[in-house]
């Protein structure tokens, strides 16, 4: 195993392949850092280029893009409160307040370190225990997915800010938006009001970028651009004491494992992992009231989980040939075009390529951290670009990104639509994250409920008796009960 890895490292340590990984990570970081452009898009654009290369070289480029694309999102998340990718939504919650307090440098250090180690641990897990982990993922069918999603939805209470009612309203709105378009299973069009364009529903990317980026741009535009009084940039602190890091070790470990686990489950993906890890970190923390005001723990939770989800998502792809999200679906295509069929025989038949991929992942992970550390002093300068110049450019890039999802102008329309919704939600102090959770999880919930009922011929019993599903449903009841109890105690003592 160790020898195989050495062989793999040998095979990628050629000038050409290293150059490809460098280019991949760099381009990935650029795509990741621009709101609207994502890792998925970077890979879609570069996939055809890889057809002409040999398989190790091609996959090395794609791995670089993947790691860079997921990591780049932290830059605008911390500096501008704009998530560069869906994977860095939760990074904005505490990263941006830290930057506002003049701790942008520290936030970067936390985020990059968490990304690096989160990614590393998940890659090691991928190398060592992919086959058994993949088998665990197989145990998750409709009943289990349904229970997990129900449990995840209870996290809304921790993401709701001041008012749980508003949080639940936002989540319900998200579920409704998620229902627009062809229904799962029978493809019957719902809530389309006769518009053909709505048949496919709203795409996740325009919804996210609209809610989080466009709304933020609108808010800033409204506050009459205050001629960026040059903040004192000279004094930015980058160093984080080892002791401060170590105080996050349990948070880091938990978030990494959660990212890995969520990544492995096909269909949920990195965009949700960071939100769930963040909410859990806040729930478990002794000082939950500090979250959202610039707590390093929030940054660590978000950034370690989203990078850990990379290794997780590759587990079912490499060991079973099952893609969990759009990125891994494209990687699957890339492998098959090179004559490699991911599946149980891949490591046996093409061990050289698989270990080449592992080596490329490790190298890309190191390069990602290196680039970000070298670059962070430059990124901070972004803040000195006057906002009336920066924000319109970002807005244009959002539009380009939304159009790029499906090459449809409709998606640009929905980007602006959700931007306006986001604007009014911020004005009304309605939290945005529950809406996103509802939008992502609602369709998964419905699909698995209906599939489960088909499997059980209409009986609800298996949802309660399948062991994994039962555990998650019990956890749900327990966590709601705990919340109610704590609220009650607060009221009595207050």
């Amino acid at each position: 195993m160790f020898e195989l890895l050495l062989d793999g490292i040998n095979s990628v340590f050629t000038f050409k392949i290293i150059l490809l990984i460098v280019a991949g990570v760099f381009l990935g970081l650029v795509f990741g850092s621009i709101p609207g452009l994502t890792a998925t898009m970077a890979i879609a654009i570069c996939l055809p280029i890889t057809y002409g290369m040999d398989s190790v070289a091609g996959m090395s480029l794609l791995m670089g893009l993947y790691i860079g694309g997921v990591s780049g999102g932290l830059i605008p998340a911390i500096l501008l409160k704009l998530p560069g990718t869906p994977s860095s939504i939760a990074t904005t919650f505490d990263g941006y307040p830290m930057a506002q307090k003049g701790e942008a440098g520290k936030a970067f250090t936390y985020a990059i370190t968490a990304s690096f180690f989160g990614g590393l641990i998940s890659i090691i897990a991928l190398m060592l225990i992919a086959p058994p982990l993949g088998r665990v993922a197989l145990q998750f069918g409709p009943f289990e997915f349904f229970a997990i999603v129900v449990f995840s939805l209870t996290l809304i209470s921790s993401l709701s800010g001041d008012s749980i009612i508003k949080g639940i309203l936002a989540a319900a709105l998200g579920i409704v938006f998620g229902m627009v378009g062809s229904a799962p299973i029978d493809a019957f069009p719902r809530f389309t009001f006769g518009f053909d364009s709505l048949d496919a529903g709203f795409d996740l990317l325009p919804v996210l970028i609209g809610l989080f980026a466009v709304s933020e741009i609108l808010i800033t535009a409204e506050q009459k651009v205050k001629n960026n009084k040059k903040k004192k940039m000279n004094k930015i602190q980058y160093r984080v004491k080892l002791k401060e890091f170590l105080s996050q070790k349990w948070n880091f470990l938990r978030s990494t494992l959660m990212g890995l686990g969520i990544g492995i489950l096909p269909g949920i993906g990195g965009g949700t992992a960071n939100i769930i890890a963040y909410a859990t970190a806040k729930n478990v923390s002794k000082t939950p009231e500090e979250f959202g005001k610039g707590h390093p723990g929030g940054v660590v939770a978000s950034e370690s989980s989203n990078n850990a989800a990379i290794g997780g998502a590759l587990v079912p792809l490499i060991s079973l040939g099952i893609p969990g999200d759009t990125v891994t679906a494209m990687l699957l295509g890339g492998l098959v075009l090179h004559g490699l069929q991911p599946g149980p025989m891949l490591i046996q038949n093409h061990g050289d390529v698989v270990y080449g991929i592992f080596a490329a992942l490790i190298i890309a992970n190191v390069l990602m951290a290196l680039f970000l550390f070298l670059g962070m002093r430059v990124f901070v300068k972004l803040l000195s670009i006057p906002q009336q110049i920066l924000l319109p450019i970002i807005f244009i890039l959002c539009v380009v990104g939304a159009f790029g999802v499906n090459n449809r102008i409709f998606d640009v329309g929905s980007l602006i639509f959700f931007g306006i919704i986001g604007y009014f939600m911020i004005k009304g102090k309605v939290p945005l994250t529950p809406l996103v959770l509802g939008f992502i999880l609602g369709p998964i919930l419905e699909t698995n409920l209906r599939r489960g009922l088909m499997l059980s011929e209409g009986s609800f019993v298996p949802f309660l008796t399948e062991p994994i599903a039962a555990v998650f449903l019990l956890l749900t009841v327990f966590s709601i009960g705990l919340k109610l109890f704590m609220n009650y105690r607060k009221k009595v003592s207050g």
Binding site: A200, G333, R408
Partner: protein
Amino acid sequence: MKNRFLLVMLTVLFTVLVACSNEGAESKKDGDSSDYPNKPIEVVVPVGAGGDTDLNTRITAKYLEKELGDSIVITNIEGSGGSTGIKEVLSKKPDGYTALAYHNAMLVNNIYGLADYTAEDFKYAGIGILDQSNTFLVSEKSEYKDLDSLIAYAKENPGKVKVATEVGAMTHLQILEFQQKTGVEFNIVDAGGASEKITALLGGRVDIVPTSLGLVKDYVESGEMIPLGVIAEDRLEGAPDVPTFKEQGVDMAIDKVFYWAFHPDTPDDVIEVFSEALEKVAENEDFIEEIQKNMLTSQFYSSEETKEKLNEITEHDKEVYDNQ
């Protein structure tokens, strides 16, 4: 600092320019059909990247570019069983620079009442690839290893054998036809797309997965999954040990055809150019070898033959659907 800023701005400008250049090129001039193609051709694949439709289109496109002498840009426009992408092609200018690459599923949408276009609403450059490796797959732990034992078991236990499909997909019609021809009754459950169905089979949640042999050959090789037969006229060259359904007494044969279609108002001479290129690709030895690895057959159908073939498939599918 100034330089750096300039660099950033240039990068941004470049990105925007690249993103816009496609649009610009399209509106510059209306394609003159005599020198077709004189700019890149956009091919819409109405399903996501990474599946067999996407892969087959990309492989064929690689060879087509050489024959046509211009590049082919593949865009995946997903949604509602392919109809989002299909409608997108119908909404574009009929100049031959937007093509649709898809398979039988387009016809199914209409039969299920989910879309109003039919095979008659397009002009075709032809078919390049046939997938004749449709199969019913079971796990190695399954109690039945051939159709006879499956039918016997299913007759004893009506509605107990769980068969995975996506309602409205080709495989749904295959299951319906199998039920009609053998008189058994399955429990048809939705399990999602090709890879999700395999997950369900590996996880032991379903008993049978109808899919293409080419997509699962690794699992068959490793012995974890067993094909009950191929739904084709003859045994496959790539899998000579797997008997056909017909040999086992079930009269079914299904061709999944991968065709290239255009807007119905596209000039005939433009389609002729594309069609000739496709024919050359289908006869190219390298191409044949490349797709054979995935258990696919290369066979060229001309414009007229394609339309006939698709109408034939539609009629057959309709009959199955109406009889249920």
